[in-house]
């Protein structure tokens, strides 16, 4: 054994967890092996600076990093992914680096115990679950009526459901137990029927009437968060929902990094197990909390981006990343959930909603179905802002879509005090002309950071109050000590340390602003490219649906003021929250909805914007507040000029 194989004990606080690692491992590696989550956007490349930890005992081999302020260096902060372990350590993970208060915001319309009948009705979908249980009272056989058990069951199903005999199919294990089950409760049985393409499968046969015990789970398999919702399929009632952060985050915050990680380290299996474990954890929480039997969950519908579906199904994602960007499958047939290791009824089915292309996934097709884009007469836009920004334009006759590499800024990533829409995130912000900041944080606790809607408000309000100009630059002449210089960068203090729930002021930096402007520019450029590619103008767009995990609340006017959304009356813009999950729920409850998603996926035309010179031009002109072409934002122009006059009046 070489002397390099020394092992060291690492003690993590405040988790109070110990782990032994080999010399040469980094502190981030140690945290991974202890299963402790540490923020890391770059996945360990030493560039994001999010994995800051404090070494409270022991020594590490850490290079000097520009990502740490002088104050932080004095307090023994290090960048966990760069610090090689050279002794036993005690590591304190500070607030801002921890993923705390596991509760992730769920959609507001996620009010429990409400049935989805009305929502389905409104969308024009019939309530007819993909997997349903029906109770049948069979006539017992006699000498005159000597039809075999299996065919007797088929006839009864045909009589009750009007289903043709030749589309039904039964598995071997069901056949073996069939005669006993039929006779166990005097010919009263409950049949579980599931759609598998054109075939209707008899998934299970149970004695007696158990038709009311039929549950399904809709899952939004997001790159950042995984949200599961438990539904009672017969009544269409939402029973409960739960969310976790995607544990794959330790392999990289965006899926491109994860694909690279999987390929370089040959860990596709491990990463599949990770996402399956997240889903199992969600389901077991839901099952326990609502005292239902795992066996009564008969179906799952998943909506996620193309890469997450590949990870979930263990399909090789490598070609998603490389030209010409080819997924293994966009349309994935239903399979038994158990094949992936997901614990529900052992014969329960898992449906994955279809994708369009490598960078436009089922989250978008599902979202388009949820807002019934396929029923719109006039051109309508769906903008989904996640880790990428996807845009769909269309109506019942045609749909075009594209993916804008907007980056995760509006999810809080890559922003100094950005965070996801979780407890403690500032979701509403207002700044006065005297530069006083008022805000509201989720959960009414001391703020720990700013989520998407808060960041959007922040940019719009700083522009209105003259803290920044239209290029996003801080106006150094303003009379406020909140604008200051730290570590060679200008920043504006939004919340001072005494008021926050973290160990520092909450600020927005010049780099943050530039990042957010680039992100909104990418989204707007994609929107205008799509509109223009169809020979339309913004006034031809009847309605804009804005989806994404910004927070509970989104100020549409501010989204226009900063030039993320086109200038149009706010009444024509609707903030619709997590449409990916909404679509998955609809598909679970309604075969019509499931079909609608399939149709939408096949009718969407994908426009690739990467390397498109026109897109680059559009993007460059959108990197301004609200835009370089002021003519495209007449109402913002009017608002800002009148504010400008007021401001110059007060100076």
């Amino acid at each position: 054994m070489s002397e390099n194989s020394n092992t060291y004990k690492i003690h993590f606080l405040p988790n109070d967890q110990n782990v032994e690692v080999n010399e040469g491992s980094t502190v981030l590696d140690a945290a991974h092996s202890a299963n402790i989550y540490i923020n890391s956007i770059c996945g360990g490349d030493g560039v994001c600076g999010k994995c800051k930890v404090i070494i409270s005992d022991g020594t590490v081999d850490a290079p000097a990093s520009k990502l740490l302020s002088k104050e932080e260096v004095d307090k023994n902060y290090i960048i966990a992914c760069e610090a090689g372990i050279t002794s036993d350590l005690q590591v304190l993970i500070p607030h801002e680096t921890r993923l705390e208060g596991k509760k992730i915001l769920l959609d507001q319309n996620e009010q429990h115990t409400m049935t989805w009948k009305a929502i389905l009705g409104q969308a024009g979908f019939e309530h007819d679950a993909l997997v349903k249980k029906i109770c049948l009272k069979l006539e017992p056989p006699t000498m005159d009526d000597n039809v075999a058990d299996h065919e007797r069951l088929y006839q009864a199903i045909m009589m009750k459901q009007g289903i043709e005999l030749n589309v039904m199919q039964t598995g071997y294990s069901i056949l073996r137990k069939l005669p006993f089950v039929l006779r166990e409760n005097d010919w009263t049985v409950t049949v579980t029927l599931g759609h598998r393409g054109r075939v209707l499968e008899i998934i299970d046969v149970q004695p007696g009437d158990t038709s009311s015990n039929n549950y399904g789970v809709a899952i939004d398999v997001g790159t950042t968060t995984v949200v599961a919702c438990l539904l009672e399929l017969e009544t269409s009632k939402v029973v409960d929902s739960e969310a976790v952060y995607n544990a794959q985050m330790k392999y990289g915050e965006d899926y491109i990094q994860r694909i690279m990680y999987a390929m370089q380290n040959d860990t596709l299996d491990e990463m599949q197990r990770s996402i399956v474990a997240d889903i199992n954890k969600l389901i077991s929480t839901l099952v326990e909390r609502n005292s239902i039997k795992l066996d009564d969950i008969t179906s799952i519908v998943c909506a996620g981006n193309t890469a997450m579906h590949h990870f979930l199904l263990g399909l090789d994602p490598e070609r998603i990343r490389k030209e010409p960007y080819i997924p293994t499958a966009n349309f994935i047939p239903p399979i038994r959930a158990i094949q992936l290791g997901i614990d529900i009824n052992s014969r329960g089915l898992l449906y994955t909603l279809p994708s369009v292309a490598a960078y436009v996934g089922a989250d978008i097709t599902s979202g388009a179905a949820a807002i019934r884009l396929d029923k719109e007469e006039k051109p309508t836009l769906l903008i989904d802002i996640g880790t990428n920004g996807e845009v769909v334009l269309g109506n019942k006759e045609w749909m075009v879509c594209c993916s804008a590499s907007a980056g995760p800024a509006f999810e809080g990533s890559g922003i100094k005090h950005g965070m996801r829409a979780a407890k403690g995130a500032i979701e509403i912000m207002h700044i006065t002309k005297e530069f006083e900041v008022s805000y509201s944080a989720i959960g009414d606790v001391a703020p720990r950071g700013i989520c998407g809607s808060g960041l959007l408000d922040c940019i719009a309000e700083m522009l209105r109050s003259g803290i920044i100009d239209r290029s996003g630059k801080f106006q150094k002449g303003i009379k406020s000590d909140k604008l200051r210089e730290r570590d060679d960068e200008h920043e504006f203090v939004l919340v001072s340390k005494e008021e926050t729930g973290i160990d520092s002021d909450i600020v927005i930096t010049q780099a943050d602003i530039a990042n957010l402007i680039r992100s909104k520019g990418a989204i707007y450029a994609a929107v205008s490219m799509l509109i223009e590619s169809m020979g339309l103008g913004i006034n031809d767009v009847h309605c804009v649906y804005l989806a994404g995990g910004f927070g509970n609340y989104l100020n549409v006017r501010n989204a226009i003021t900063i030039g993320m959304l086109p200038d149009m009356p706010a009444s024509r813009i609707k903030f619709v929250g997590n449409t990916s999950l909404t679509g998955a729920k609809m598909a679970l409850l309604s075969e019509d909805a499931f079909e609608a998603v399939q149709n939408i996926a096949s009718m969407m035309t994908y426009f690739d914007l990467m390397g498109n010179q026109k897109y680059m031009d559009e993007y460059m002109s959108a990197n301004f507040l609200p835009h370089t072409n002021l003519d495209e934002f007449p109402s913002v122009q009017e608002e800002l000029s009148s504010l400008n006059q007021q401001l110059s009046g007060t100076n």
Partner: protein, 318 residues
């Protein structure tokens, strides 16, 4: 059969900017220069008004230029240390305007004080009666210190002051506004930034019809194609009705042409390139005549002979 004359009419008109103020107008200039006003593609006067013809500004520096090649320097050898005399010479060579470039205030090039600079400006105003362009050294700190003083000293003369950049536009915009000067907005061969800087200065209340745009110039062989197409795109946008682009344009031909190696290499260094005495003149003249075609309104130049070639060329075209 008579063939109808089809006129290609444009929706937009480039604004007119007047540089210099006569006694009646509160200044001391003997003549003023108005540029802009085009509402047709350059020199296509059958489609509309091509506006005022391009004006030539000749450069005067506040410090003696260090790297001018002999064929250029010989025309100014006796005046490079006296900006006022230098300006007089430019007037004799036929300049429409004088462009005083304040390289000497740069910390690396002499770090000249505000007082010295102000007296240079005053001496030029006394020496010639041509309108004046005064351009800083592109060191933000020094420009922000000196330009307000210079602007104040030339108050009433309706000069053209430069340049406002996206990183540093507030001070120069404010003083130009206060002292009644015109303003050069500057962008790095980028149509978006060109527009954005115009929006930023108009946001401060600066009137659009006192702005002249500068897109940074590339000489023949040094990016002239890129520069040409940016000017052309800008002008077409202006003529199509884009207000933010509808301002006259200035280009810096002299400085760029004379630092090209083709203008600087001596006969011994490059015998195959033709006569050293003529090369730089041709380089400057061709750069200028090419850019005129893209619609520029003010051309900064250096060599008297190139100036006379370009003036003749303009006369021929108009």
């Amino acid at each position: 059969m008579e063939i109808a004359n089809i006129v290609d009419k444009c929706a937009g008109t480039v604004s007119e900017v007047t540089i210099g103020a006569t006694k009646d107008e509160g200044g001391t200039r003997g003549k003023v220069v108005t540029v802009g006003g085009a509402n047709s593609i350059p020199f296509m006067d059958f489609d509309g008004s091509p506006g005022h013809k391009p004006a030539i500004a000749m450069d005067v520096y506040d410090v003696a230029p260090e790297e001018w090649p002999e064929p250029l320097l010989k025309h100014y050898a006796d005046v490079v240390n006296s900006p006022a005399d230098w300006a007089k010479k430019c007037a004799e060579y036929g300049a429409d305007l004088i462009c005083l470039k304040l390289d000497g205030i740069h910390p690396d090039k002499g770090n000249r004080s505000a007082d010295e600079t102000v007296s240079t400006v005053k001496s030029i105003l006394e020496a010639v009666d041509l309108p004046l362009i005064i351009w800083g050294c592109e060191n933000d700190e020094r420009d922000n210190e000196i330009m307000p003083k210079v602007s104040e000293a030339a108050k009433g003369e309706r000069c053209l002051l430069g340049g406002a950049t996206q990183e540093n536009y507030k001070t120069i915009t404010a003083v130009s506004l206060a002292d009644g000067h015109n303003l050069i907005t500057q962008a790095p061969v980028d149509i978006n930034i060109g527009k954005q800087i115009n929006i930023l200065v108009t946001d401060l209340g600066f009137p659009t019809d006192r702005i002249v745009m500068f897109q940074t110039t590339g000489a023949l062989g040094y990016g002239i194609e890129y520069c040409y197409s940016i000017h052309e795109r800008g002008r077409i946008a202006a003529l199509s009705g884009d207000q933010q682009m509808a301002t006259p344009v200035i280009c810096d031909v002299g400085h760029e042409a004379w630092r090209a190696k083709e203008a600087k290499a001596s006969d011994e260094e490059a015998p195959q390139w033709g006569s050293f005495a003529d090369r730089g003149i041709m380089w400057e003249a061709i750069t200028a005549t090419t850019l005129i075609q893209s619609g520029v309104d003010i051309i900064r130049m250096n060599h008297p002979e190139s100036v006379s070639i370009v003036k003749k060329h303009i006369e021929n075209l108009t």
